[in-house]
């Protein structure tokens, strides 16, 4: 009797387990797992997106060859988007991490008042939709907009920058101050072609417009990351600091030798999130720039969208997706090597 009861209960539990998990699993399989493999399959095919996918034509590795190895417009576009995304990530991730850490250290004091106010204010941009923020900043960044007007109040001689329509690169502009332009630069820079772009193009830096988007994103995310750091700061045992100050360690020494090492796992977490997020940047480009001016804000994610849905090249868009997946994967691994090993020890 008892044995069959237990067996019955086991069977009941088995059925329960599968039926509890089934709905979630079906959704994840249909809309996450299968699509992953679908992308890979589609990257070996030529398809315009209108006929059924089975009508697509197998093309083997053609897209990968065009994107990576053959000298043609597609490769130039792909590596331009790669360059844009790379400058974007390299600019945004360290800035938002350092700014967030700095704000957290400043805010981490028992005697401070208005804590709730600061927390609310700093966090608010990150709960606002990227579309709302994008449209508001599109207005702020106009040539006659409030950003330029505010700067002009403080610097009357300032010549307004057209933030949303300036394709010139920051490093190019800096070199220009020293008289180095595309005309005066050595020919090995302007004529050596690497992966579809000249060396001179590679070293452009983010365009002014891309930098405007980067500032916006730092503004949006720094508050969230600050709260993550603040929570971690409060978990550092106080006696560590007390012992250090008894030994005469300065504030700066305490910061570098206690705070930063103790925060290493959190820094790792914030940088990982930042990298994964920045390499997928899309909304700001869609809402604010449509990838322009002169393609300088076309991110890899925006290129996928444009290739697939504007140019009806679903196969090529899938190939770029696969490459982006590999890039993000490699980035995470490299980053784990650099930061993660020490985080464990």
């Amino acid at each position: 009797m008892a044995a069959t009861h237990i067996a019955g209960q086991r069977r009941q539990e088995l059925i329960a387990g599968y039926s509890f998990i089934a709905p979630a699993l079906v959704i994840l399989i249909v809309f996450l797992f299968i699509p992953m493999f679908f992308t890979l399959w589609m990257s070996f095919r030529d398809w315009g997106g209108i006929t059924p996918p089975s009508f697509s034509r197998p093309v083997g590795l053609e897209w990968y060859q065009k994107l990576l190895f053959q000298d043609n417009i597609r490769r130039s576009e792909f590596f331009l988007a790669f360059k844009n995304t790379l400058y974007y990530a390299v600019g945004v991730v360290p800035t938002q991490t350092v700014l967030a850490l700095m704000l957290a250290v400043v805010a981490n004091s028992a005697i401070l008042r208005f804590k709730g106010f600061f927390r609310t204010t700093f966090y608010f941009p990150s709960i606002t939709s990227s579309v709302a923020i994008g449209l508001i900043f599109l207005w702020i960044y106009q040539t006659g907009g409030i950003l330029n007007q505010t700067i002009k109040i403080f610097f009357p001689g300032y010549k307004p920058i057209s933030w949303m329509n300036d394709p010139s690169g920051l490093i190019h502009n800096t070199l220009g101050l020293f008289g180095i332009t595309i005309r005066t630069a050595p020919t090995w820079l302007t004529e050596t072609n690497v992966l579809g772009l000249t060396l001179w193009q590679w070293i452009s830096g983010p365009s002014v417009t891309m930098s405007a988007l980067m500032m916006l994103v730092v503004w949006t995310t720094a508050g969230t990351m600050m709260l993550v750091f603040l929570a971690a700061l409060q978990d550092i045992p106080r006696p560590l600091y007390e012992a250090a100050s008894v030994d005469g360690a300065s504030w700066w020494q305490q910061f570098w030798n206690i705070t930063v090492p103790m925060l290493r796992p959190t820094i790792f977490f914030v940088v990982t999130l930042g990298l994964i997020g920045t390499f997928q940047v899309f909304d700001q480009m869609y809402v604010m720039t449509s990838g322009g001016p002169a393609g300088t804000t076309t991110s890899l994610a925006y290129l996928i969208y444009r290739a697939g849905f504007n140019d009806s090249q679903m196969g090529m868009a899938s190939a770029i997706s696969v490459l982006l997946f590999i890039i993000i994967f490699v980035m995470t691994i490299i980053q784990r090597r650099l930061l993660g090993d020490r985080a464990q020890s």
């Binding site: 088995l14 509890f20 709905p23 699993l25 028992a110 401070l112 709960i127 599109l138």
Partner: protein, 300 residues
């Protein structure tokens, strides 16, 4: 978090042999200056946007820095219901999507999380690994295949197509599993001996104890869906205007204005209107936001 600040930090300020009084006062002053400076930086765009949304378009162009609209007008908000802008309908769609996704995510994620934490069935670890693996997939890589699958299922440009793919969230399952594992299992055991079915135990015993993670999950799901652009752009496409949520509708208004004078009054009014529900939710449930915030940061 706030309680911890109060219990931990006083020891620092009373530290013997630490910096003299005036140095500490100066440090505090610097802290306030930095924090208020950044608070202004974070608030200013919203304040100027609010002020300008109540100005006439010529006034927005001429005096954007004026904080008090003169003349005051609701014209920009009225225009949200005219012409290409169908904001009342888009608002309703945003609510439909956000509510449907939130309810299904809360229910399905807690059900799955509970099964992974408490119910014993073969293949459980494998399923959990699969759920973890999906968290590693960058969303943008799914754009093209999701379009294809929705097309194959005949769901492109339908409410179902907008809702189904984002009905479950691997992070939500993970969150609920972690929580249910932290619960003591004695009460569940007692209910089992009394002959309750696994679903009864889940529904009447375990779920009522999960208020905190459920609120976090609810806020996160609502916020994520309310602010989502990319998925709806793919699932609903350029033609299903009547199904668009606010994000897609407003983003497309910019596209319609390329090459002509952009209607900034309309953008500001629309953006603020879209932000309002999130602002209310944020103010009411502030402390739960911090917990789900670190995950939201992925979206950048």
């Amino acid at each position: 978090m706030a309680e911890r600040v109060q219990t931990l930090n006083p020891s620092v300020t009373r530290q013997p042999g630490s910096a003299p009084e005036w140095v500490r006062s100066l440090t505090t002053l610097v802290r306030y200056i930095v924090l208020f400076g950044f608070a202004i930086l974070f608030l200013a765009p919203f304040i100027f946007a609010i002020a300008n949304s109540f100005k006439t378009p010529p006034d927005i162009a001429a005096n954007p820095l004026a904080l008090i609209p003169n003349p005051f007008t609701l014209e920009n908000y009225q225009r949200l219901t005219q012409g290409a802008a169908n904001v009342p309908l888009w608002t309703m769609n945003s609510f439909i999507f956000a509510i449907a996704v939130t309810i299904s995510r809360v229910f399905l994620c807690s059900l799955a999380g509970y099964a992974l934490a408490r119910v014993h069935f073969p293949g459980r670890n494998l399923v959990f690994l699969a759920v973890l693996a999906t968290m590693m997939i960058p969303g943008v890589v799914l754009l093209i295949p999701r379009f294809i699958i929705l097309k194959q299922l005949g769901l492109l440009g339908t409410y179902q197509g907008g809702i189904l793919p984002i009905m479950v969230d691997a992070f939500g399952i993970f969150l609920m599993k972690q929580f249910f594992e932290s619960l003591p299992s004695e009460v569940e055991e007692a209910a089992r001996i009394d002959g309750a079915t696994p679903f009864q135990i889940f529904w009447s015993v375990s779920l009522p104890m999960a208020t905190a993670p459920l609120i976090a999950l609810t806020i996160f799901a609502f916020q994520g869906t309310w602010n989502e652009l990319q998925h709806f752009l793919i699932a609903l496409g350029p033609t299903a205007r009547d199904l668009w949520p606010l994000t897609l509708g407003l983003a497309t208004l910019r596209g319609a204005g390329v090459g002509q004078q952009l209607d900034f009054g309309l953008f500001l009014a629309g953006s603020l209107l879209m932000t309002l529900p999130m602002a209310i939710v944020f103010i009411v449930f502030q402390r739960y936001f911090v917990e789900s915030g670190s995950h939201a940061a992925v979206k950048g």
